[in-house]
């Protein structure tokens, strides 16, 4: 999927939400907000679930591993774009990071029920398009697209 294909389409909603690294008390707040917004836009519950899930796992990753970051969301008639960009240590070996079960999580993260090496797999599995890139010492960028089926999702 390239940008140009959809360039002519109206943006129904767009926003950039800052995410604080290390602040577990707030982790998930952004995803709850995004979910509430999509609900008001009357997207189907299945699309909302998938967007919220992908955004939530990304948010947990930023809180767990980065200094700070943001989640950018864009809703178009045909799809929802979610980007999670962070400033942090980055990921040296992306192939390894994508393996289910691989994790560098601290005990604290594990005690919260995360850090089992499933986050990125979940994000990939629930997206229609997924791309990850990382610069060691700088940060990590995730880009996800969830397609909206107009017939079923009615917007």
């Amino acid at each position: 999927m390239t940008k140009n294909v959809f360039a002519h389409e109206t943006t129904l909603y767009e926003n950039k939400f800052p995410v604080e690294g290390g602040n577990f008390d707030k982790a998930g707040q952004v995803s709850s907000q995004i979910k509430a917004i999509l609900k008001r836009m009357k997207l189907s519950s299945e699309i909302i679930r998938r967007v919220a899930l992908v955004s939530y796992e990304s948010e947990i990753n930023i809180v767990s591993y980065a200094r700070k970051g943001h989640i950018h969301i864009q809703v178009k008639p045909d799809y929802v774009l979610i980007e999670a960009i962070d400033e942090g240590d980055g990921i040296p070996d992306l192939e390894l990071a994508m393996q289910q079960g691989w994790s560098t999580a601290s005990q604290r993260i594990r005690e919260m029920g995360f850090g089992a090496g499933m986050g990125l797999c979940n994000i990939k599995n629930f997206s229609d398009f997924f791309r990850i890139s990382s610069d060691v010492g700088k940060g990590t960028q995730l880009k996800m697209v969830i397609k909206i089926d107009k017939i079923f999702d009615g917007i």
Binding site: F24, D25, A27, G28, S31, S32, K35, S45, E46, R49, R50, A52, L53, Y56, E57, I60, E111, M112, G113, F114, A116, M118, G119, C121, N122, N125, F126, D149, F152
Partner: protein, 124 residues
């Protein structure tokens, strides 16, 4: 089965969502790993867990979980309770361990959610 029946079967105490006890549930997922819950739990399920932090409520919100059942008499933190009130997600606590909680509910007809949620969206 209604949440009220779930409460009775588990001899549970309702901490949040007393007004939602007529809600109907058919499926349950038991786990202590939130990413597992995110990958497998179906909307409208009960979430049985030993975790009590606010992320349990966030995860439940993301997935439209019907109610959280804390096992082995665990009590949530004040932050968890506040968030559950805010997001209107019922929380109960039962004295039974997760094994017995699952056993009792399964015996009464609640089923698991084995399919991956992302496969469910396949439409004909």
């Amino acid at each position: 089965m209604t949440l009220r029946e779930v409460k009775d079967i588990l001899d549970a105490e309702v901490l949040v969502g007393q007004e939602q006890m007529d809600k109907d549930v058919k499926t349950a997922f038991g786990a202590d790993l939130m990413s597992d819950v995110l990958a497998f739990a179906k909307a409208g399920s009960l979430l049985l867990t030993g975790l009590t932090n606010p992320q349990v409520v966030r995860t439940s919100d993301v997935l439209d979980i019907a109610a959280i059942i804390l096992v082995r008499g665990k009590k949530p933190s004040p932050e968890t309770l506040t968030l559950a009130e805010e997001l209107k997600i019922p929380i109960m606590t039962t004295k039974f361990i997760l094994f017995e909680t699952a056993g009792r509910l399964y015996q009464r007809g609640i089923v698991g959610c084995m399919e991956r949620v992302d496969e469910e969206r396949v439409r004909t």
